[in-house]
Point group: C3
Chain length 428, copies 3
Amino acid sequence: MSQQVTQEILSELESLRLIDPHTHINPLSAASETLADIMGYHYYTELAHSAGLAKEKIEEPGISPKEKVGRLIPWLATIENTAQYSWLLEMCKVFFDFEDDRITEANWEGLYDKSLTKMQADGWEKQVLETSGLDQVYLTNDFDDPLTGFDTNFYVPCLRTDDLVFHLTKPEVRARLNKCTGADAADAKSLRGAIGQLFTHFKANNVRACAISLPPDFSPEKVSDAVADDVVSKAFSGKELSECEHKSLSCFVFWTLAEFCVEHQLPFDLMIGVNRRVFEAGVFQGQDLYDKRVSLIQYKALFNAFPQVTFPVSVLSETSNQELVSYSWIFPNVVTNGHWWYSNIPVFIEKDTRARLQAVPQTKQIGYYSDMYKLEFALPKFAMYRRILARALAQDFVVDRGWSVEKAVELGKLVLRGNVEKIFGGIG
Amino acid sequence: MSQQVTQEILSELESLRLIDPHTHINPLSAASETLADIMGYHYYTELAHSAGLAKEKIEEPGISPKEKVGRLIPWLATIENTAQYSWLLEMCKVFFDFEDDRITEANWEGLYDKSLTKMQADGWEKQVLETSGLDQVYLTNDFDDPLTGFDTNFYVPCLRTDDLVFHLTKPEVRARLNKCTGADAADAKSLRGAIGQLFTHFKANNVRACAISLPPDFSPEKVSDAVADDVVSKAFSGKELSECEHKSLSCFVFWTLAEFCVEHQLPFDLMIGVNRRVFEAGVFQGQDLYDKRVSLIQYKALFNAFPQVTFPVSVLSETSNQELVSYSWIFPNVVTNGHWWYSNIPVFIEKDTRARLQAVPQTKQIGYYSDMYKLEFALPKFAMYRRILARALAQDFVVDRGWSVEKAVELGKLVLRGNVEKIFGGIG
Amino acid sequence: MSQQVTQEILSELESLRLIDPHTHINPLSAASETLADIMGYHYYTELAHSAGLAKEKIEEPGISPKEKVGRLIPWLATIENTAQYSWLLEMCKVFFDFEDDRITEANWEGLYDKSLTKMQADGWEKQVLETSGLDQVYLTNDFDDPLTGFDTNFYVPCLRTDDLVFHLTKPEVRARLNKCTGADAADAKSLRGAIGQLFTHFKANNVRACAISLPPDFSPEKVSDAVADDVVSKAFSGKELSECEHKSLSCFVFWTLAEFCVEHQLPFDLMIGVNRRVFEAGVFQGQDLYDKRVSLIQYKALFNAFPQVTFPVSVLSETSNQELVSYSWIFPNVVTNGHWWYSNIPVFIEKDTRARLQAVPQTKQIGYYSDMYKLEFALPKFAMYRRILARALAQDFVVDRGWSVEKAVELGKLVLRGNVEKIFGGIG
Ligand SMILES: [Zn+2]
Ligand SMILES: [Zn+2]
Ligand SMILES: [Zn+2]
């Protein structure tokens, strides 16, 4: 029975058009131009590298897209078990009429050429969006992004703030900040002013969220004015900061961001738990990992200090999911947000989804975002999520709690789309 | 096949009468008087608050029970996905003949009035107990509870000791202690004497366990007499204690409790992992959360020092369940105890139950307690647990290991009731 | 449908002959001689002890094997729910024609006698190996093991190094090292030389891996020559080491082992997360537990410094499995290795297996090892794993991803055997 119910729910969910509330799409080049844009995604290069393909082969300067794909192909045999590979296969089937069950050294060239023709045709971007049912795609924008040249009602800006919080001691980051604000930050007050300008610029361009990824040992707290002045001055005069001063600087900037989120009524996406550059010999974007020893208790001061700001929280480790569920159950300003990166794998999504559906108010759950770099990925990723969601709704709600299919579908739609609109704002 | 087996096992388990080994029932007012007693349970107020209902609305002084319920009703729509809501619905259906699938602004008044009539009828408490199949209900008693006015064979006292271990620096706690023991504790020896008096009083009133909830950073150890004398004297003379001295004081009192558990042959319930008042703007009883970074290794010294004391251990985070399984598998004096609070959600109960059934001696598992504040909650909570237990027994034992249904039921009954009697003592 | 597919996959997997890549078999006495060898396994003694059997009863000097078994039998009733008991029952059924569903005080003597006859018959060891389908059994050898008297192509040596890394401050360990190397280590250089000799000796005897178990707080790093000289000299002159010096000594030896793994092209098995002697009053081998607060980030320096060494990693806590999956997904030299000890329980194996199959390159997963002390245990333990693996393949690959049964079986065989040969080297 459960299987048939799953199917019924799934087809309803499949008819729903989507908003993707977190991606890394470049709105000026949103769709893939060759298969290398798809297979060059770090999920494939890092897995192939992990399975044995040399980094130099993958990242050799000047190789053609086709050559790059050709070098990756033999390694697909080692990763065809992975969920990541299943996305690739689904993209090739849906978008490029690929009909085999494996992409191999024997059949890849045909696939490459066929896909190239499709991607080079006029309107490929539109076609991908249509096939994928996407109504809106949220971006990840550097603080100095001009936000021009695209429709911000479709490709919605989000202000990404990692550089501001963690890299202000790098001269190039300060230079970028000074340049785009036309100011010369030198102390806490002028830095706050500069940050305020960023918010104004983004707000004028339909920004829907401030966002940041955070290392496991970060614990935001309010910094006194005196300390803030001291560390900002030091940083902006190019002096070396101690580890402790560095933390104060990060805390000051972070706290300031939260204050501007209040002022501009913006949600603040927290993506908690990543350690950067753990494997420095890894491929591009394939160097980051994590330390699961992190707790949301580290955000106690923040969640208490900013009741007016909604914090959509993503956690990197599945061992953090129950904390996320519990904190969202208690704090009005904490909501669950998608299935991030190393937790974006069916077995984890399944358990995490069930826990959220069973214990967090249904209005406080953002079901999924694709985190994609190229448009084609939304389709297989959302498809994976929808299947898991449908099964959870069928088993835990229709079978176990006697819900009607309609009611289960209603819940699924809320989590998949309704809450995205409510929390970030609807379609322009 | 598995589904039918589950059903067979479930009906057997449903015929079993229950002992509820941990509740917060007030024996002088055990059953609810209005629907506000049920919907005022912090599980509902905190979820409604989290979903957007203002605390001031919920906790406005002087509002009538009906007014309170009326204010909560519109928010039920936001939490009807939760397991907590499913308990509410099941209570209304079983106890108040409610027949709809949702409690709404349209139908709640009828429900309120009907339930009021039922609850005001003579013998409501008895009726709830009968419908719920409860043979015994364990309490949570303050150390200065007179334990009078009720049948301690039915409402069984447990000595709750959080105040003694963590709050002796508060003048009002010391005053309560002095008052109820008629003594004037001033040093380690006299404090020990006072605590001994509490045990004697409770023991004379059929106490079945000493109990405490513990923060994630607590790690009990024996404190030297000199240090104990020092910190107790300081505390009882009203002096400020350093953080370190505070820990010593807590350790001394905790260790003393364990010593009296030896003397009085009492199990010592440990509920491990809660941080109090994390969200201070939260509703009554809806302010506590946790830090999952806790390990049972913190209790190594305790478990080794008190082989004569049985420690029924509850853990707040599901990430602690495997440690609990492993420690119960190795330590003769550690037993698994129920599914506590943020882990009392089907998806967690399911996994935790399966792990315990698969790896802990069957005689060392206390399946479930309701943690209820009002009698009506035992029914839906135990029902939820029983369904999960029946499914685990069907799948993991009957289907996977070829057990007979009888044998599986036997195991279920042991875990649901037999062990409670063996570990805490049977019915007077 | 899923059940039938599981069955099809399972029978294919059951036809596969096995290599067991980690055991504690004594090759000079590999099979059991009496039922006491089987029931004396710490999994039974510690569970019986935990359920109430006194350690003195179990470990009384001079009791006969039959007496020992007789004392354990009554306690089986308390642990027949456990997975560990299910292995016992399966061994008795398969090897000793036991036909009842429970081993009881009424039927055990017949079982004992019948099994004795079987075990005393000529060729019992061969028969067990044949029934179990074992082609090769990897050992755990002390560093001073002469490695003589057995066929190292069948019973394959692995150099176990816990003593070297953690116990060099014990005079008896240093004496054993000096004796077997014929040298007199006194400083970093001579100690390195002695360790090199061990590798040469093992390499000459078909060693396939260096192996070690590690406590949760261990974090290997390179130690400077000066510090190494200092702490080694101190240790070998019998002086007391500070905690910090002790760590440096451990790090130096550990790092040296990794260097020799490069030189001799050996995988380095890391078994991460055990605390030894947590319960000192426990039975033999039943005293160890763990602290789940451990992260693979602690091995960042190691994994980066030794790209040439393959590290098959086992984790003790299920909360570490996702980290293991993620680190194996990123680091080319990290592979997942089996289901260790407290995680070798169906509910954990199931989730951990699914996660690995879904996100780690299929060539980087060693499915299972028995960890057995006596040959008879490989059969039920691998059988347990195979059933779980078959179900995961059926559900997640055939049903959910539309794989053919053949392809799923191929993946199963790779994980069960192919990768073992590829990572450790095939059959001589
Ligand atoms: Zn992202
Ligand atoms: Zn309680
Ligand atoms: Zn081992």
